[in-house]
Chain length 403, copies 4
Amino acid sequence: MRTGVWLVGARGSVATTSIVGALALRAGLTGPTGCVTELSELRGPAWPSFADLVFGGHDVAATPLAKRAEALADAGVVPARLVAALGEELAAVDDDVRPAPVDGTQADRAAAVVADLAAFRERHGLDRVVVVNVSATEPAARPHPAHADPDALAAALAAGGEVLPPSSLYAYAAFTAGCPYVDFTPSTGARLPALAALAARHAVPYAGHDGKTGETLLKSVLAPMFAMRHLAVRSWSGTNLLGGGDGATLAQPEANAAKVASKQRVLGEILGYVPQGDTRIDYVEELGDFKTAWDLITFAGFLGTGMRLEFTWHGCDSALAAPLVLDLARITAAAHAAGRHGPLTDLAFFFKDPLGPADSVPEAGAIADRTPSHALGEQWARLAAFAADLHAGAGTPPAGGAA
Amino acid sequence: MRTGVWLVGARGSVATTSIVGALALRAGLTGPTGCVTELSELRGPAWPSFADLVFGGHDVAATPLAKRAEALADAGVVPARLVAALGEELAAVDDDVRPAPVDGTQADRAAAVVADLAAFRERHGLDRVVVVNVSATEPAARPHPAHADPDALAAALAAGGEVLPPSSLYAYAAFTAGCPYVDFTPSTGARLPALAALAARHAVPYAGHDGKTGETLLKSVLAPMFAMRHLAVRSWSGTNLLGGGDGATLAQPEANAAKVASKQRVLGEILGYVPQGDTRIDYVEELGDFKTAWDLITFAGFLGTGMRLEFTWHGCDSALAAPLVLDLARITAAAHAAGRHGPLTDLAFFFKDPLGPADSVPEAGAIADRTPSHALGEQWARLAAFAADLHAGAGTPPAGGAA
Amino acid sequence: MRTGVWLVGARGSVATTSIVGALALRAGLTGPTGCVTELSELRGPAWPSFADLVFGGHDVAATPLAKRAEALADAGVVPARLVAALGEELAAVDDDVRPAPVDGTQADRAAAVVADLAAFRERHGLDRVVVVNVSATEPAARPHPAHADPDALAAALAAGGEVLPPSSLYAYAAFTAGCPYVDFTPSTGARLPALAALAARHAVPYAGHDGKTGETLLKSVLAPMFAMRHLAVRSWSGTNLLGGGDGATLAQPEANAAKVASKQRVLGEILGYVPQGDTRIDYVEELGDFKTAWDLITFAGFLGTGMRLEFTWHGCDSALAAPLVLDLARITAAAHAAGRHGPLTDLAFFFKDPLGPADSVPEAGAIADRTPSHALGEQWARLAAFAADLHAGAGTPPAGGAA
Amino acid sequence: MRTGVWLVGARGSVATTSIVGALALRAGLTGPTGCVTELSELRGPAWPSFADLVFGGHDVAATPLAKRAEALADAGVVPARLVAALGEELAAVDDDVRPAPVDGTQADRAAAVVADLAAFRERHGLDRVVVVNVSATEPAARPHPAHADPDALAAALAAGGEVLPPSSLYAYAAFTAGCPYVDFTPSTGARLPALAALAARHAVPYAGHDGKTGETLLKSVLAPMFAMRHLAVRSWSGTNLLGGGDGATLAQPEANAAKVASKQRVLGEILGYVPQGDTRIDYVEELGDFKTAWDLITFAGFLGTGMRLEFTWHGCDSALAAPLVLDLARITAAAHAAGRHGPLTDLAFFFKDPLGPADSVPEAGAIADRTPSHALGEQWARLAAFAADLHAGAGTPPAGGAA
Ligand SMILES: NC(=O)c1ccc[n+]([C@@H]2O[C@H](COP(=O)([O-])OP(=O)(O)OC[C@H]3O[C@@H](n4cnc5c(N)ncnc54)[C@H](O)[C@@H]3O)[C@@H](O)[C@H]2O)c1
Ligand SMILES: NC(=O)c1ccc[n+]([C@@H]2O[C@H](COP(=O)([O-])OP(=O)(O)OC[C@H]3O[C@@H](n4cnc5c(N)ncnc54)[C@H](O)[C@@H]3O)[C@@H](O)[C@H]2O)c1
Ligand SMILES: NC(=O)c1ccc[n+]([C@@H]2O[C@H](COP(=O)([O-])OP(=O)(O)OC[C@H]3O[C@@H](n4cnc5c(N)ncnc54)[C@H](O)[C@@H]3O)[C@@H](O)[C@H]2O)c1
Ligand SMILES: NC(=O)c1ccc[n+]([C@@H]2O[C@H](COP(=O)([O-])OP(=O)(O)OC[C@H]3O[C@@H](n4cnc5c(N)ncnc54)[C@H](O)[C@@H]3O)[C@@H](O)[C@H]2O)c1
Ligand code: NA
Ligand code: NA
């Protein structure tokens, strides 16, 4: 199953690390640490192999991938020896990274993306192409009436309107081209009714939002611990210090707000109440891709006794994100091959702000699904069941049409 | 369902906090924070109410409970106003705290305990008495042939032998008196083949070992997180600083070794390998009952990138332990009422070193159950199922005989 | 030497803790932990004894001191037994706490303060009254031409102008009444040319700004360590979480800005360069007066190797501040008695943002003094020399007139 | 002033980093970060330039320096580009690294060392050779009567006795060869009356013990802070986790004990009392040369309020130690050139367990010097004065004979 992985933001840190890693895996130069699809509980025939993944993408930047990879090696994110060994392969991928379309109307740019996706699929003889958004985080989108349904949207675009944020325009193009779409960022992406309906119409699955790699990952195991022990969390304050391209973007108040909001939902959902305290993101250039998150949690136990937990997480964001990008590409491709479509709510395990049933286009008579849990253990169980299902069906021709 | 709770080590910090808390709950002076049996997922008709719990116990110390409670109030473990309000009730419980038998042979002492338990049951018209060991941690027991089966044990005791460590002698007496037994400490307790068989013979359930309240609790959610994310834990080092009676005991190398061993098993079981690093327990008198645990975890992600997590836990040990003691008393009483017997492996949620199927006396043709998981989420699921079962059966007369 | 201590913000946490502490010291109920004037290196005959201190002050709040003290006891800031023992003494001080004047023009309010100070001095037969500002932090003052010199200021006030922020109005009144003035807050206080000149005219000393009790205290010993070891600090990021009245005030952006600015100056001055990173102050009600500060410092050593230090400070702000308030009152009173006047730059040890020579009114032909160091060790040496000087002169009648 | 630097343990991490660094400095490939002799306050004409330093040494290991340097580059301790650029220079130094003598009696081995030192000096036309012990930490030495005076020692050695630990045998050889000696380790080294007298006889200076690079460095600024603020330190507990050769050595209980003892003296001396708590050193191979130290300090402030500070230090031990090794070589060479001899107590700034006046051979009528302070600020002031003195005299021919 030859599978295209089209990265929006293909020259960014996460994308570059994903590509270096996949090429290194294919060449047998590294192991799959961090890739959950290689865990014994999730492994199986439904996934395309790493060797089956073919990379391309869009970016507004023009730095060659090999140069980005060297910068990441200097920063300690990827091993220098891998970058040195993979120079040719990286250059080959570079040929499939296209400049993000900038000319004409949004409709023109969407059409250019659709054409790029089709050409990529054809050029490499791919069974399907999964579009993964790993570009810079956008500010929250401004509401627009055209977001409400696909026809209004088509009309607005046809009329030359600039109605979608970039992440949504990519989702629009992906769906139009019959491609699954994964949003690894907190941007709007496919989260508009018009796009949900469009995905349904094209029978493609999509997943998101915002890869869960640091502080929120910890929240998703620690908050359930407090809940299961009936301990009352009084305050939960977090500070995230990071540099890198993502850090620079998040230093801008609007992007920061989008990210912080997606971090805050988790606690309320798991605990059933929102403790005091805020989450901060601060840009510290010197830290580069190595993020330091510090959280202080104060809680009360039996008879009201006050206690506290604090943790410091020194994580390399791209090293945490990249294997998940590969996992998501593999799983979403397999889901598509199996004829799944609509929001893949079973992939909540990967996301800070997972798509829930509210994101589905309700079919007539459908019964509302339970809210997606933010607790990692429950998310894991759902993911394992989903994977088992796909593996069980692998080989059998899917009911509904693949790309 | 009037239920006796007989605390071995009844004048210790954990016991005193449990008693103060239960009395305060009964008087409506506090809420059940920290009591998991009061969570909506676990609540139900099978539990005896807090008002139905009647306390007694053994201790080698003679300090009145009210005085111990005042010391705990001064140390910030329990609120002073509760201790002030409960003076009379504490004095009443004091009447049911007996000096730990010291005279005669082990057989004599066991008989004295059996007599104390019977008298307590009778005096208060109790449906059953759950014996909970919260006395000081013992060094690991020396092996003895009499540990192998109940008849050898009976013979050795009858011959005047001193063959059991104190925690096991209490378990022996409890089973002999038809009482369920819970070991909240890492001591040997019921973990001897002779005692397992004795419990089976008397059809009583038992639970243990070593209440999970701090560093190990965190390990039981953080280690699964690393495992579920396929991150390779390279080292996990822990330092526990604590004062109090328990700290003083654990400062003695033998007791320390017993405790540390029970802490170390968790990681290997969850991760499938044992990372580098040790766990330390150091006595710092000044910290009293407020333990500080610091753990450093180093791990590798995708492409081998090194990262780290460190946490500091400032927990009040007795405030964390006491509600679990009440929970265990309630659940074990309900299990007994429902005719359950043998090791309650479904209570792994509560323990650092939970009883597993290996602790059962295998019945003919029985198939070995899976190892008990140390992952908190899985333990929670088993506990919830166990509770649901007991609640479903509550009211119906149990199949197998209660005390 | 009977010395009045007039606290602006007399019902706040710092003021109440200072008063409780001084009364407890006088009654022999506690020791002088935290009071640097009682260290062997600083002790001596120049200080008024604790028993010689008489308290009064202004506040906009009306809660009786005993009630504030009880609240502080509940929060663990002061021992409940002290508050219980000092009820009468606290009530007596209450009689000397006046409502902050609110009626009329600024000139009227200044006159009312002057009258209150004079009446207090007379009522208790005091040798002098030191005014200490421990009221809520103000936003930075708006510049006004009347700030430039005392005559312009007098004219503007006489004309009914509202030209001074409250902290400066108190300083104006203090100087007018011949009283030394200490600013324990980051507010403007005496830091206006007009007020510096007024202090010179009345020959009174003054000190400030912003008591150094937490993160900045640590900076003032850690930053010199890095400097002395020639290690290159790359980033220094700080997060301060606190509740209490002060936390609530600082949650307001303007006050926050004033405080953060005074925290940031320290690093640049000590290191000779400003590392990356910011300092944050966040309000977390639940933390009350117990502030948690977390700092991450990244630095480079030999050959550029990157390293890091992080610390967490769990300090009780009022317990740290109160003994320094008593120290400052004693030292400033002694300085006044010794005829010192103008900015007491030798008291930099106590402050985040110490007064330097730039704050002096330069006399004709005066040579500019060196910048005050922010390094605690140097500040300590200057303080010790200053104290030695005062003690050496104690007993000798001062050259220039006391109040 | 061509100066030999003879490293005992020349192939260890600290030695290799020192050599790489000095060669890189000479080649203009790096700057002097971490070298305190290059700070404006300490710089001056007395120091030999980095280009004047010539390296040699002894080691029991045979791995070429370039290979050790590559391993350190892989571990992130030194930059790979420096190692690559300095291959030839490292190989040249290798020629001057001799196998540690192992044959014959201790007297024979001492003579071999003396011969090696003389040959090194001659071969390179050196003004003097400073011997610096950076070999593995030894267990504490067993007392022996021959330690008491040089004649007894000479006699015991002549009789074929094995009476000195290795570090002391090197000191003996250094002094005999007229070379200054620096002990960067906690081993016995020159700290024997016989050796102190021998140094006096040969008029050579010596310095030590145990380079201060991590937790103790922090203690030497934080403990004075608590002292200067009159805060009562209740407990100070430390955990040091490290790998590397030094970590492996310190994992052996005897070496560990020597190191921990030298760490503990600091607090008592600075605070005037010894708080509760212990310091631990644990070996965690995976951490390599990057040590993590975590310290918890609990303290009481005004009215007894309990507070706490905790810090985590992630330091690269060799990167912290190496520039100090260069500093010590330069300063000790300058001291020797200036005719100083005996224990250089003014170098306490560099050491965990600095030589004090007790280590001097008291001259008739000499007045006991004050104890060396462990407070970094005071140590700095002494060092600066010492440097100023040497610089002032630089150029003038020293009174007493240089090598
Ligand atoms: N690394 C993690 O752990 C993690 C976790 C969750 C989410 N994310 C998200 O992943 C995204 C990528 O992170 P990163 O660290 O790689 O950031 P980055 O800044 O290194 O990369 C972003 C890339 O997107 C490109 N880009 C910007 N606008 C574009 C556009 N309109 N079209 C095409 N390309 C565009 C940029 O040129 C850049 O190359 C961010 O949005 C981040 O918030 C990352
Ligand atoms: N608090 C926690 O979080 C926690 C968690 C897991 C396990 N535990 C275990 O719980 C136990 C109690 O802890 P604690 O803090 O209350 O300790 P503690 O020292 O305050 O109390 C122990 C009590 O046991 C009594 N005792 C000692 N030997 C006895 C004997 N032979 N018979 C009867 N009584 C005896 C002592 O007199 C004392 O009153 C310890 O073994 C501890 O390891 C506690
Ligand atoms: N506690 C510390 O460690 C520390 C350190 C440095 C500076 N400070 C400063 O000390 C001050 C007091 O801190 P706190 O914790 O006691 O705060 P708080 O809020 O408890 O007390 C402030 C008091 O000032 C009173 N007040 C407000 N406006 C006033 C006015 N115009 N006239 C008279 N009284 C007025 C308030 O009613 C209140 O009682 C703050 O400015 C704080 O920033 C405190
Ligand atoms: N790195 C620091 O921050 C620091 C601080 C204080 C003290 N120290 C001390 O410095 C010393 C060196 O540390 P390291 O990390 O380089 O250790 P290391 O183990 O890497 O190096 C020690 C070297 O000494 C050699 N050696 C052992 N016995 C010898 C002998 N008898 N004669 C000659 N050589 C011998 C070994 O072969 C090895 O090459 C240790 O004693 C350590 O405790 C280091
Ligand atoms: Na911490
Ligand atoms: Na930390």
